[in-house]
């Protein structure tokens, strides 16, 4: 049993941090916040060169075939940098295509994703805001030359930059997945402003949107299990990102508590502040254990892998909100200003709480699994 990282994994983390410290500084993030597109094409190309965009994709399609532990390490660093962009949705859709796509779909998309030539988004939530995959109410109806999709998708991340959009919809045969072209007719997108300007969201309306027969992913009518696995993988990745945001806030708070003086002493010498920092460290370390246990379980195919991902998402959601929020408290007034960087990470953590299934949804999954 070894809970520590291999030298290769540690190297991945340190090189990711070095790259992001240089290319994704807080000032860069702020520029992208004000950018209409919201993400950097140049950064995306560099991420492709670093091998990040094919990290978990099969080697025959230009990927590195690495696992969830490595992916989580990278996502933690991206969260620590409050990186704005469609990295994780793109990886998830790539994963779904690698798992269930036809040869043609794999050829069409995987190399393009790994090489930086394609981005993706996934529309997991319908109008009634129920995260449970079987609750999808968007309809898929057969037409003379394929399908047409009708429904509303809510809070979809990064659809405006996506080249391909993964859409769950209910066909007469049951829950099905479609890989659609976001620029096709029948789809209208209206942006909604998230609390986190580094997370671009939109509502999508699908009005008899035409879909070709070769744009279904996997077997029509049996997408439920794949979709649940994908949702949980997404949730785990979000937990890793939230962990990174928490780690950043903890570091900033501790650093500040050492130098900020009041009453003639550094505020970190006061128990009121020190105890807060200790609690923040506890929550961060427990979150680390939750994220990497779940990542390992997923890679190892452990029986509790699904439950562990739900545990990581619900636990780290609470923990990271607390850690980032308390970092603001430790800083006092300066922490509440737009100019100070803390809110970037606070907002990243909070924004992800409502993605890939919220805590209530995952807790119900957890209880359902252990008390069935």
């Amino acid at each position: 049993m070894d809970f520590s990282f291999t030298p290769d994994q540690s190297l991945l983390r340190s090189s990711a941090r070095a790259f992001l410290d240089e290319h994704c500084k807080p000032a860069t993030v702020r520029l992208l916040w004000d950018d209409p597109r919201g993400e950097s094409e140049a950064m995306w190309k560099e991420m492709a060169q670093l091998g990040w965009l094919g990290l978990g994709l099969p080697e025959e399609h230009g990927g590195s075939g690495l696992g969830m532990v490595e992916t989580a390490l990278l996502l933690e660093e991206l969260g620590r940098a409050a990186y704005p962009g469609p990295y994780w949705p793109t990886m998830l859709v790539g994963h779904a295509i690698a798992e269930a796509g036809s040869d043609a779909q794999q050829k069409r998309w995987l190399g393009a994703i790994a090489g930086g030539g394609a981005r993706a988004a996934l529309a997991l939530l319908d109008a009634d805001l129920d995260w449970s995959p079987p609750a999808a109410v968007t309809r898929a109806e057969r037409t003379a030359d394929g399908w047409q999709l009708t429904g509303t998708k809510r809070y979809v991340a990064w659809p405006h930059v996506a080249d391909v959009l993964l859409v769950p919809a209910r066909a007469p045969e049951g829950l099905s997945l479609f890989l659609v072209d976001p620029s096709a007719s029948g789809l209208t997108s209206s942006p909604v402003q998230s609390m986190d300007p580094g997370l671009r969201l939109a509502h999508l309306t699908l009005d008899r949107m035409p879909v070709r027969p070769d744009e279904t992913l996997g077997r029509v009518g049996s997408a439920g299990p794949l979709l649940l696995r994908l949702l949980r993988r997404g949730a785990l990745g979000a937990a890793a990102e939230m962990l990174g945001a928490a780690r950043r806030c903890l570091d900033m708070a501790v650093g500040y508590a050492k130098i900020r003086e009041q009453f003639g002493q550094p505020i970190g010498s006061f128990q009121a502040i020190r105890h807060k920092c200790a609690e923040m460290l506890l929550e961060t370390e427990n979150s680390h254990a939750a994220v990497y246990y779940a990542a390992w379980a997923l890679d190892a195919g452990a029986d509790d892998a699904g439950t562990a991902a739900s545990i990581a998402k619900s636990y780290v959601g609470d923990a990271s909100r607390k850690v980032c929020g308390e970092a603001i408290q430790v800083h006092g007034g300066i922490g509440f200003t737009w100019e100070y960087d803390l809110h970037m990470y606070f907002k990243r953590a909070k924004g992800l709480e409502a993605q890939y299934g919220d805590a209530d949804y995952h807790r119900e999954l957890i209880l359902g699994a252990v008390a069935s």
Binding site: Q271, A278, N286
Partner: protein
């Protein structure tokens, strides 16, 4: 990262499980003699002193295997071994700081529970500020004469020996004049009075020492350097058992599930109430996170890394969790959760004391964890200063010294 158990550890677990299933006592152990006999049997099978070096009568196994033993014992709800303070903390202190003669004299009998040990550290006016202790040990040639009062002494009435912190030099700064010495509890100058705790049990005692005698040959380490030794003792105490503890929580969780199926409110079983389900899902998630964190510590220990001050994080984490755990359980169970005496099947849960009780007793016991062995506030000070490197506070006693 590889969280699979090694083939050796899996084989070790299988063997321990089979042995426990074959040997677990069929009846409740009532007397001390019965508990000592069970302890002896565990020891001879290799399940007590698992981590101790073989030269001192232990089994020289790994931290992982020690954790596996505790885990399997929790799983089958076996009666615990006794002399836990001795074997877990006092013995290792003697191994590190004791003389060869002390090791030969005390260690084996401690392991076999021929002699039961207690810890004589806290005093009525020296709790979190342990270095403020007042018990005196005065030089009388070949021995010390000990006068003072200790408190929160576990196993006091059954203890044969104690590890004592006492002041040997009152003239110097408070951390500097303390010595660590072994005290024979079976002598006229030592009086043990059981204290009743909020659970109604008496697992702690007060100990009064009046001209008690401690031999100089029983001094651990050097004179006046007992404070550093106390730190290692506490260091062993923090962050020890991890798997067994979580297994006990998990057993209690299964009993909670069972109870919420049987208890009804608003015309349906409690477990069908969405607010109950949300709380239970959260509880289980927290319980599992304690397990993951425990595995992480265990993996470090197993590689020979010392958790050091980081073990304060573990202690803080599980004791605070345990309070939330039983608070939430009692909230869910409603009036029924407060019952101290009912003997229905799913009420018999393993409390923090390692003994069976009701939900109410477990709830009450949970208050002890965040106080004993360094309160949560002390743990947070340690984490803040030694893990995060935050500046020390300005303290009145340091200004004076």
């Amino acid at each position: 990262m590889d969280l699979n158990y090694s083939p050796e550890d899996r084989a070790f677990r299988d063997k321990a499980r089979r042995w426990l299933e074959a040997n677990i006592p069929r009846e409740d152990l009532k007397t001390l003699a019965e508990r000592k006999a069970w302890h002896r049997k565990l020891y001879e099978a290799g399940y007590v002193g698992t981590l101790w070096p073989t030269e001192y009568g232990g089994w020289g196994a790994t931290a992982m295997q020690q954790a596996i033993v505790q885990d399997e014992m929790a799983r089958i709800q076996a009666p615990p071994a006794i002399n836990g303070l001795g074997i877990g903390f006092i013995g290792p202190t003697i191994i590190v700081h004791g003389t060869e003669a002390q090791k030969q004299r005390y260690l084996k009998k401690m392991l076999t529970a021929e002699e039961i040990w207690c810890q004589l550290y806290s005093e009525p006016n020296a709790g979190s500020d342990l270095a403020g202790l007042k018990t005196r040990a005065e030089d009388a040639g070949d021995h010390f004469v000990v006068n003072g009062q200790k408190i929160w002494t576990s196993s006091g009435p059954i203890a044969d020996w104690g590890i004592l912190l006492a002041r040997t030099d009152p003239q110097v700064a408070k951390h500097k004049g303390i010595s660590c010495v072994l005290l024979n509890m079976r002598q006229p100058g030592v009086e043990v009075r059981p204290l009743k705790q909020i659970t109604g049990h008496s697992l702690f005692s007060e100990v009064f020492m009046t001209n008690a005698r401690a031999e100089k040959s029983d001094l651990i380490g050097r004179l006046d350097e007992g404070w550093a030794i106390a730190q290692t003792t506490l260091g062993y105490e923090r962050g020890a058992n991890s798997l067994g503890r979580v297994t006990r929580y998990a057993i209690a969780f299964n009993q909670l599930v069972k109870a919420t199926r049987q208890l009804r409110r608003h015309g349906r079983p409690l477990i069908e109430d969405p607010s109950v389900r949300a709380r239970m899902g959260k509880l289980y998630a927290e319980l599992e996170v304690q397990r993951y964190a425990g595995l992480r510590v265990l993996s470090a220990l197993n590689k020979g890394e010392s958790p050091g001050a980081a073990s304060s994080i573990t202690k803080l984490s599980y004791t605070e969790f345990e309070k939330r755990y039983y608070e939430t359980a009692l909230e869910i169970l409603g009036p029924w959760g407060q019952v101290m005496t009912a003997r229905e099947e799913f009420e018999e849960i393993d409390t923090a004391s390692g003994e069976a009780g009701t939900w109410a007793t477990a709830f009450l016991w949970a208050r002890a964890g965040t106080i004993y062995s360094g309160s949560s506030e002390i743990q947070k000070n340690i984490i803040g200063e030694r893990v995060l490197g935050l500046p020390k506070e300005v303290r009145a006693d340091r200004l004076k010294a």
